[in-house]
Symmetry: C2
Subunit: 243 residues, 2 copies
């Protein structure tokens, strides 16, 4: 028995998300079916976490057990021949049998992208949240600083989130301008469901001057206070998982 760890990139636009769902095609289903065709075995992929419908990944991590002794290139170059154009394996490595993609993850980097312009952008439509208003970057950075540290993020999860504890650690929040795009880079130990999207939505409301940067501090001290809106999924990308 071997365990294989895969690094996966995908354009989530046409999927219901990472996890198998009854209502549509998921990345997990497409990956598991391609691996089953390749190995001739039923394959169960365990990932570092989930992503929502329309959310992207440049470095999703998932692992599976196999009895076969195919060369690693079969799981990378080989898989990429049978996967659809919007999913690809970037790397395949053999790892120890006790590697657990979810529990062993030390941290993750998510990027939320905004497109700021008077008109919507056809070329960015699936990869950034389009906003007409100009945003105050200084205020957003101030708000972002309040996220850093270990806090109760109960105000930053969706109602469907089943996590037992809502305490998470954020290591860094960066707001960087790149032409008409604004990237919010978030590094942290782990994330509740919709947490990055609510963080991004809150920072946007701060950048618009509709919320004070101190609102972040207040919602972390008192989770019954409302955070900002949930930013739409297309702007979000899971960049990297750290082990």
């Amino acid at each position: 028995m071997r365990q294989i760890k895969l690094t996966i990139e995908y354009d989530g636009t046409n999927y219901v998300g990472w996890q198998r769902q009854p209502n549509g095609i998921s990345i997990q289903q497409v990956m598991e079916e391609a691996l089953a065709r390749l190995t001739g075995e039923p394959v169960r992929l365990h990932s570092s976490g989930r992503t929502d419908a329309r959310v992207h990944a440049r470095g999703m991590i998932a692992a599976f057990m196999t009895e076969k002794s195919l060369p690693l290139s079969a799981y990378c170059e080989g898989m990429n021949c049978s996967l659809p154009p919007d999913i690809a394996v970037l790397q395949a490595e053999e790892v120890s049998l006790d590697f657990n993609p979810r529990h062993d993850a030390k941290g993750k980097h998510y990027r939320y992208s905004l497109h700021i312009a008077r008109c919507r952008s056809p070329l960015q439509r699936n990869f950034a949240w389009h906003l007409r208003d100009s945003l105050d970057l200084g205020l957003m950075q101030q708000g972002g600083e309040y996220f850093v540290g270990e806090h109760d993020f109960a105000a930053y999860r969706t109602t469907g989130c089943a996590a037992k504890t809502t305490v998470r650690r954020i290591d860094k929040v960066e707001v960087e301008s790149a032409g008409p795009l604004l990237h919010i880079n978030v590094f942290g130990s782990g994330f509740l469901r919709n947490m990055v999207r609510i963080m991004a939505g809150t920072l946007v409301e701060i950048g618009r001057g509709k919320l004070q940067p101190e609102r972040v501090r207040d919602t972390l001290l008192n989770p019954s206070l409302k955070a900002g809106m949930t930013a739409p999924p297309e702007g979000l990308c899971l960049m990297e998982v750290f082990y």
Copy 2:
């Protein structure tokens, strides 16, 4: 009678190109139909030029005549409500009746994007040409320099090109690295059909060491010599038209 000049952005992935074709949906057809619904008149759009199937634009220019006196915002914000998500009007201006988008164009900026990595990228699949080999930027820049000036570009057009003269002026060719992407920026007075794609394909073969940079000079002096391959359409974007 008024003439309205539009600046148009589109993701060309799902179109047969700018120009109306019997075999599929073109950007021109979608734009003309949306304008006809808006104005209640039949509308004929005249563009600065064509783009091939799957080629993109951030700044295509097209103009039309209208008897209506709608506010300019109707042709921008108004149009964007009825256009599909992969096409948008970025700007609408009233111009004099003798403005001709094709003949009055002083120059154009095209960008050809390459994605250089061991594995194909799902997120770049519609916007860059994926190459596995690393390229020698210095050689590509050297080759690019030979394009600058007024030359006979007969070796740099597809067989279907109906242009009367094949002499064109190139003002600048820049090769710039941006992470895993490589952008080839080409500025020139005008372009033959597939010219930028053959220029990009030739520079790629130079970067791979398969052609010498001097091959560019030789093909411009002697158009019966073969230039490099035609790069695929998805990497090409019309960035701006200058008047």
